[in-house]
Symmetry: C3
């Protein structure tokens, strides 16, 4: 990263520029952490007081900023500092990344029956099995395994060491992070009277619709005989477990370390915060939100907002979590009442 103010102006097209800085911008930091040579930004009015004291050399500010200028910085006045920052980050990312080279790396092992589009890229030491389809502009990085009959959609990206079991279908524009395992056997056994667990065959598959992102080291089990399906645009964080036959709606957010047990359905736009657990065979209505570490054991109507385990409506949970700390006090108060009652001659 190495930008002059002129280059930033050309890139971000600010509405106005005030002050100047003649060096090069080498990093991005918060207002408080920025040092000389850094660019910073005001995206949250809470931090408006930090602008004038920031050590940053370039500041992205909204038109609404009416505080003191910072004498050693160039001020770029933009419609939306967050968007401008995002634009700059994207540019830095673009410059840093070398596009994947189309074609199959000589060390990749691609079955003769697999079909890899000429614009797709298969990285070193990948193993691509029979009857696989890899679509245009898809990128499969090092050490991935793509099982028999899998499909990887257009422009999808598999980071290193992704493991797709047989029949997995990845839509277009998906991103799968390192170490994710998709399509593995569902956890299903028939237990006989002697207590032994006999494995049930799982002949279904996992389908990721377009634009899904799956975090590092996630695990998604394939269905018993139909589909485990993740809806378009759903974003899954790291270390999430999704059981067999789960159906996740579109544009859901599933934060790190969530677990969803088998056959459960999530409507569109559901948000599960970190470490949430969801029981099997239930339904969570569209637009529902579950706070971190919550546990959902029964159906939720659409737009539910719940917290706690087992989950309660948010307001009740908040009230409970406050009163919970006063339970010792409540015991004492009841003891007092009992004592008073007794001294009353009861």
């Amino acid at each position: 990263m190495d930008y002059s103010v002129d280059q930033l102006v050309a890139l971000l097209q600010p509405r106005a520029v005030r002050g100047n800085f003649f060096g090069k911008i080498r990093g991005i930091a918060s207002l408080e952490q920025a040092k000389e040579g850094d660019l910073s930004f005001l995206d949250n009015p809470r931090y408006v007081a930090h602008v004038a004291n920031s050590q940053a050399s370039v500041l992205l500010l909204p038109e609404s900023y009416d505080g003191k200028p910072q004498p050693n910085a160039a001020h770029l006045i933009v419609a939306n500092p967050s968007l401008a920052l995002g634009q700059l980050c994207k540019e830095v990312e673009r410059e840093r990344s070398r596009p994947a080279v189309a074609g199959i790396h000589p060390t990749a092992l691609v079955d003769a029956t697999a079909s890899v589009h000429a614009t797709a890229s298969i990285g070193p030491y990948c193993v691509v099995e029979a009857d696989v389809l890899i679509a245009a502009h898809a990128v499969v990085l090092a050490h991935c395994t793509v099982g028999p009959r899998c499909r990887v959609g257009e422009s999808s990206l598999l980071h290193p060491k992704v493991c797709l079991y047989q029949d997995t279908e990845i839509g277009a524009g998906c991103i799968i992070h390192g170490g994710a395992v998709i399509g593995c056997d569902g956890y299903g056994y028939a237990t006989t009277e002697n207590g032994m667990h006999h494995k049930l065959a799982h002949i279904g598959r996992v389908v990721l619709e377009d634009g899904v992102e799956v975090g590092a080291n996630c695990t998604i089990d394939r269905a018993r005989f139909a589909e485990t399906r993740i809806g378009a645009g759903t974003k899954i964080d790291n270390l999430v477990q999704i059981g067999h036959n789960v159906m996740v709606g579109k544009s859901c957010l599933i934060v790190a370390q969530v677990g969803i047990a088998g056959s459960t359905r999530l409507g569109d736009g559901v948000v599960l915060a970190g470490q949430v657990g969801v029981a099997g065979h239930i339904s969570i209505g569209a637009g529902s939100q579950v706070a971190a570490q919550g546990g959902v054991a029964s159906n939720l109507p659409p737009n539910s907002i719940v917290r706690g385990t087992p989950a309660m409506p948010l307001a009740l949970a908040n009230r409970y979590f406050v009163l919970r700390k006063r339970i010792p006090e409540l015991f004492r108060r009841v003891e007092n009442l009992e004592r008073e009652m007794a001294s009353d001659g009861h």
Copy 2:
């Protein structure tokens, strides 16, 4: 999948066949989700009313079914629809899977001192280190690493990217899913007075007895100087963590994202539901069950059924989880009592 009714009859040997369907069965689905060309089944009397309205073209029904027939479907009357379905799934799985080719893939790196049975299969890009033993009919898929002195038992299957650290012993008939790491260093440090943590050497190992299944991306630490041991027939779901020196009994079920801290012992047939945590150095008696997200911090006698964190006996936990929602009400009732008491002249 592509079965005529005649082929299904030959495979499943039903006690009776009613109605007919002249096409081919292409999928399996629940009674409600089935479409023309699907096979469906009645395994739970709850769904008996769905039979007559199902769009399925073939129905597996128990002899006890006395509802209306579905006019467009062939009805196969079997002793146990679940078992018949399992048999069909197994057949589909068998047809789809190509048996692993015996022998060592030319890209696999096998140390000269390792012993690989002639009927075993070592996949592409595997690394098998010194003094390893791979038994008959074992299958080690792509990108696995098998550390020094490991043993993989007869007919065991390692999915891609399994990582066995040194001295790990896998019994016969085990299945290890993609990305599992077995035998890694236990989490043990000696902390000196200045707060620094010094790593303790772990010279023990992990032993998986026969018939164990380990889910994708699980981690099982080796013992400090003896064994971490998983009993025969125990089935472990994805993303489970098992600490050093843990001893798990036979035929346990350990569901996804469970964590078991070091030196804890589980008796036979223990069931830990999803996201359960178990403290270190405790003992959970045989046949015990812990409900999802529970936390067990002290010994449990055999056949305990507990819930919550810290765990309580199930009946108490259920009662508590109901009453918990009425805690705000209880505070109000105590306030009322106090007010009444006060107005009584106390």
Copy 3:
């Protein structure tokens, strides 16, 4: 492992030796589990009664031991049995492990612009990308991927299948266990009014200071534009998730399956027990401890000791967890009071 008493004496330099054993020591076990041919030890005065009944053939005992001798064992009296045991384990480990061979394995793919020190070791099938620096005596085992511009410090060890995304910096003397993914994209999206989530570019990086250990299958996200940083000497157990921009202090202990959400800061010496969750954008003061399965949702001052979710001070949490079981009783007592009040004519 195969030590005579004479060899043990030479290695451990005990202050005194009593009794003798003329065979070879083949294993190490606890006092109760030891069999003939095993060495055992007394490191916890709780177990002093087990010494005389132990089947061990060699016993490491403290000078303070004044119980009965065990007639068939050699007794080695040492200043600190734990330290002596650690010394022995280290020796066993040293003997068993073959030092990594310096140099680049012929199957490793190392970019021409990467710089690998002559004493470093790059294992089979590794992929090392552009502008990487691998320092002296670093060891990178099989199937690792080291992304563009990463640095691996002196004497650090990457176990098999570690995945470093671009720009990750690993200090000196670090250990990264199998399957860990470091530097992956932070979980950050801009959600538009139609509910669609647009990925935010993450141009920051992950920095591990010296002496950090990262457990198997952990995931650590890189920062949006600055750093996710793990302080020197911090030890991270398996399956831990650390979000973007998190700053972890020095010498922290982060136990298995912990999740820390984005932008949170941990002071030095913080201990997070297993399955703890920490919310984003908060600060946990130095020396704080969070009990297993706890949830921290707001700032904690230094040296806090908390438990529960949301976390409470330990004493309050302990009191609450005891009283919680008596909530049904409390309801009954309040009902009784209400009945008595009513019968009093209220």
